[in-house]
Symmetry: C2
Subunit: 216 residues, 2 copies
């Protein structure tokens, strides 16, 4: 599958691209295409050094949408609306959102839009034929980046489109030791997103690092 990562040079983008490019063709989207291309070349080279023939190219965010079957919105919540406003072509695509609307005072807290979650907000902003799927919300950027480490977490996947959900669950299960769990409809995405500030607080209050979650 061709997977486009919007904001692919930021935050969790690099780790995502690295871990997904073992099995999939990756288009790293960025506002800075040159940077995305450099990252694509580095990743391809790095994987070749490990004996893996990966295809990982840089592109603009718009090209990443246009050329991909699945688009991952690897964007900070505060840039979400402006990023989507500048892009078109989401019709009939699977759009994965790992986005969490979080704010901070003494501690992190869930700060959702009126729609109830970032995922539901995205649904309201994109064409009706796009299939919005919330996934990867609770894995820390640092964990994505340390590519030599296994990811041994549960990933709750929520969507109103059962086929898209199944496709994304298969994608999740293709990464490291991640285990996809069907979390139900997109309405449940708010709870999944809200677990991220809780996880950040648990890390802070209990002197833990890069806390993840497992349901069993």
């Amino acid at each position: 599958m061709k997977i486009g990562i919007i904001g692919g040079t930021g935050d969790i983008g690099e780790g995502l691209a690295h871990r997904l490019s073992h099995e999939h063709e990756i288009i790293i989207g960025s506002r800075n295409k040159e940077r995305a291309c450099t990252m694509g070349e580095c990743l391809t080279e790095d994987l070749r050094g490990k004996g893996i023939e990966a295809k990982c190219i840089g592109a603009t965010n718009q090209e990443a949408v246009d050329d991909a079957d699945i688009v991952i919105l690897s964007v900070n919540y505060k840039h979400l609306e402006s990023t989507l406003a500048g892009l078109t072509g989401f019709e009939d695509k699977i759009v994965i959102t790992p986005v969490n609307p979080i704010s901070k005072k003494d501690y992190f807290f869930f700060d959702p839009p009126a729609e109830g979650s970032a995922a539901l907000k995205i649904k309201s902003l994109l064409p009706e034929s796009s299939c919005i799927v919330a996934a990867f919300n609770n894995i820390s950027a640092q964990k994505w980046k340390r590519i030599s480490e296994e990811l041994n977490y549960s990933v709750v996947v929520c969507s109103d489109d059962e086929d898209a959900k199944k496709t994304v669950m298969d994608l999740v299960n293709s990464i490291s030791e991640l285990k996809a769990l069907d979390g139900g409809p997109l309405e449940m995405s708010g709870i999944v997103e809200s677990m991220t500030p809780l996880i950040l607080n648990i890390a802070k209050y209990n002197n833990m690092r890069d806390v993840g979650i497992k349901f069993f």
Copy 2:
């Protein structure tokens, strides 16, 4: 410590009483004192058969509040307000709430009061000197009941009173293989409570039983 369990003959009460009575004196509170006394006798007898000298007695809910250092509100959310309205004497007590405001349509969802969580609602209903602590929200009743099985989960503990939180975390850590995690202030209790409908849906959609949670 003397631990009173309001609603101790219901739902999670029996398993809680059983697992806590290894190390603590338990007062099983109930609207039906006779039933609570029978349960207390059975539990004490059962534990004696295993070589454990436990003290586990039945009482009214009011007696359970009056005689305990720590009160656990083992009450269904829909009976919470009416139960508390009939009780007094919570001043200066630690009050543990495992209560989750949940509703159901095709799936379970979080259905909190205007305060934001059951714990925050309880805080608004009880005297200012009571120390409200949210804990044990995400462990299924069935898991509590099967006392021969270890409980190998994380228990997120939230409170605005640091001393009470520490006491409850120690209590959590005294049960089976449970691991208490400081989840921060009581304002975070809404997220912890909301994980319970998510867990119930995960169980339903993924054909799992008695799902629990671990942060690591």
